[in-house]
Amino acid sequence: MNNTHTHHITPLWIYLVVASALMVLTIITVAVSNIDLGGFNVLVALGIASIKALLVAFFFMQLWWDKKIYLVIFSTAMLFLTIFLVLTMFDTQTRGYINPEMDGRIKPNAPMYDTMESTSTTH
């Protein structure tokens, strides 16, 4: 085969190892979610998910070997997503800093809860 410079052929064992790692990480993330770590739970969950996502991206999607431009495109997507999240949350998380009455959202309970026979939807 003369075209190995464009088609990297990943050895079979890498696929199998990566898939096993993904399975193990899935089990770990389920197990950890049952332990109460306070605010760290979400960080651990996202951390494990990110490792899994990177394994998929680098090995299943070949980013490790492929042209670097694909990695650049993928990173660009993540960059724009981060910008979107961070700048929006600068607003949504800091509305009460100067005017406390602006904190939170406008209406805590949607109207349909008033008509539902419920004892548990109070804030």
Partner: protein, 538 residues
């Protein structure tokens, strides 16, 4: 005497409407886009004329408030989504991008044709919502009004959603074409600056438009299911809608202006017959604008309940846009310096752009500062500001580009003298329309009202008179171009005597862009090394 080529993309490989509707040729698709966007531009312009007529006198003259609401909403939506976003990239860009980088076509010709049909479908759905009673939310579809009004919001939002796909397809196509299909000998930094503009535009199109798509889906679901994300009555946050909307729509205003700036770079260097000053600075500033455009959307929301901290951050970031825009303006001025300038019609549009866009950009700086914006928000100052950038910037650049490339696209020359007069008239009409609106806005006249108090009458009447001059000259300018297709004299390969690769092929171009593979011996701006003789009598 110039001759007209026997075989060109207009008559080969086949003639007839069917061959056009199934064509994969980027040039024909570009032309079909142009017909569509020019039609919608004239349609949106006619709506503006009706509004300006109503505003000639302070009181209610010949329409109801409700009708006026629907009118300005339709005008905004048509001009933004149907005309200005696709106009330069999908129209002129489609036609010239492959030619200017020496490619035979765009990377995915079938997607390219699909994008035209998708655009047309979206446009028709949006326009046909008039038949469902029209929509009165403004082109921004702000919640909670858009979730509570009983006008036809869903159909127009669906139309915008569908057109978003067309924009994404064009963006993907352009990025891949520029990356992969440049002819041997054309490097990143020997590409024409128009291509850099299109590249920056395409990045915004693919990165921002998906967010618009999901926002509009959420809006439709909010109206139908009450999902409680944007509608305060359902526990949602309307300001969050504005974040989502402007995360797309602020970058989208650079989708409108960046390709226009690319055209201006071409025009200024072509007609001052001088190498562009600071090529790399102009190229990088396009990418800079594209990137910064994603950081500034919150400046549309100073008077919403956005937190003061966020507003401050957005304000600081907004001022950054001034830097790459300034880089461009000063590099263009430096290019003009000591050039041998030809005052052709495209060049007159370029001058017009420099003046109008600078005013539009500088007033943008006023609006970017939070304190000033609180006073000016939702007044006619805003209306005048964005018309200076969108119309004084993009539309003028579009007209400049049309006049510059029309002879190449159709091989025939329009009436140049008339075109020059009209370029000046458009400039005068524009100033007369929008400068009075700045003044009225400073004096506090709110936008989107069909009546006003008497103190604003004089400026409104000036504005209406200006609008009719503008409308008349624009219409005549397009008529001048269209008449040329049938009546114009053949122009030869290089009517303006310029160096870009697109002028090496015949006018109109060969179906495969170049009948003979062109040899790339110089860059597009090497006026210090090479001279090209115009085939027109300039």
């Amino acid at each position: 005497m110039n001759t007209f080529p026997e075989t060109h993309y207009l008559n080969a490989p086949e003639k007839g409407i069917k061959s056009w509707l199934t064509t994969l040729d980027h040039k024909r698709i570009g032309v079909m886009y142009l017909w569509a966007v020019i039609f919608f531009f004239l349609f949106g312009g006619a709506l503006a004329m009706i509004m300006r007529s109503e505003l000639f006198f302070p009181g209610a003259d010949f329409m109801t408030a409700n009708f006026y609401n629907k009118l300005f909403t339709l005008h905004g939506a048509v001009m933004v989504f149907l005309f200005i976003i696709p106009a330069i990239p999908a129209g002129l860009g489609n036609f010239f991008l492959p030619i200017m980088i020496g490619a035979k076509d765009v990377a995915f010709p079938r997607l390219n044709l699909a994008s035209w049909y998708v655009y047309l479908a979206g446009a028709l759905i949006a326009v046909l919502s008039i038949l469902l009673g029209g929509f009165d939310t403004g082109w921004t579809f702000y919640t909670p009004y858009s979730t509570s009004t009983d006008s036809a919001v869903i159909s127009v939002v669906l139309g915008a959603f569908i057109m978003g796909f067309s924009s994404i397809l064009t963006g993907i196509n352009f990025i891949v074409t520029i990356h992969k299909l440049r002819a041997p000998g054309i490097h990143w930094f020997s590409m024409p600056l128009f291509i850099w503009g299109l590249y920056a535009t395409a990045i915004i199109q693919v990165a921002a438009t998906p967010v618009l798509a999901i926002t509009l889906v959420l809006l439709i679901l909010e109206r139908t299911l009450g999902i409680g994300i944007f509608d305060p009555a359902m526990g949602g946050d309307p300001v969050l809608y504005q974040h989502f909307f402007w995360f797309y729509s602020h970058p989208a205003v650079y989708v409108m202006i960046l390709p226009g700036m690319g055209i201006i770079s071409e025009l200024i260097t072509s007609f001052s017959r001088k190498k562009i000053f600071g090529y790399k600075a102009v190229a990088y500033s396009s990418l800079g604008i594209a990137f910064i455009s994603f950081l500034v959307w919150g400046h549309h929301m100073y008077t919403s309940t956005q937190s003061v901290l966020a507003s401050t951050i957005f304000s600081v970031l907004t001022f950054l846009v001034g830097i790459p825009s300034g880089i461009k303006i000063f590099n263009w001025l430096a290019t003009l310096y000591k050039g041998s300038i030809r005052f052709t019609s495209p060049m007159l549009y370029a001058f017009s752009f420099l003046i109008l866009f600078s005013i539009g950009g500088l007033t943008g700086i006023f609006l970017g500062s939070m304190g000033t914006d609180v006073h000016l928000h939702d007044t006619y100052f805003i209306v005048a500001h964005f018309h200076f950038t969108m119309m004084g910037g993009t539309v003028i650049a579009f007209l400049g580009g049309l006049h510059y490339w029309w002879p190449k696209m159709f091989g025939r020359m329009f009436n140049e003298k008339l075109a020059q007069i009209l370029a000046v008239l458009i400039f005068i009409g524009f100033i007369l329309t929008f400068v009075p609106q700045f003044i009225n806005g400073l004096h506090g006249m709110p936008r989107r009202y069909f009546m006003y108090v008497e103190q604003y009458t004089f400026n409104n009447q000036l504005s209406t008179i200006g609008a009719f001059i503008l409308g008349f000259s624009l219409f005549t300018a397009f008529a001048n171009l269209f008449v040329a297709i049938w009546k114009g004299k053949p122009v030869g390969d290089n009517p303006w005597g310029v160096l870009g690769l697109e002028w090496k092929t015949t006018s109109p171009p060969d179906p495969h862009n170049f009948s003979v593979t062109p040899e790339i011996t110089h860059g597009p701006y090497d006026y210090d090394k090479v001279l090209a003789k115009p085939t027109l009598d300039l």
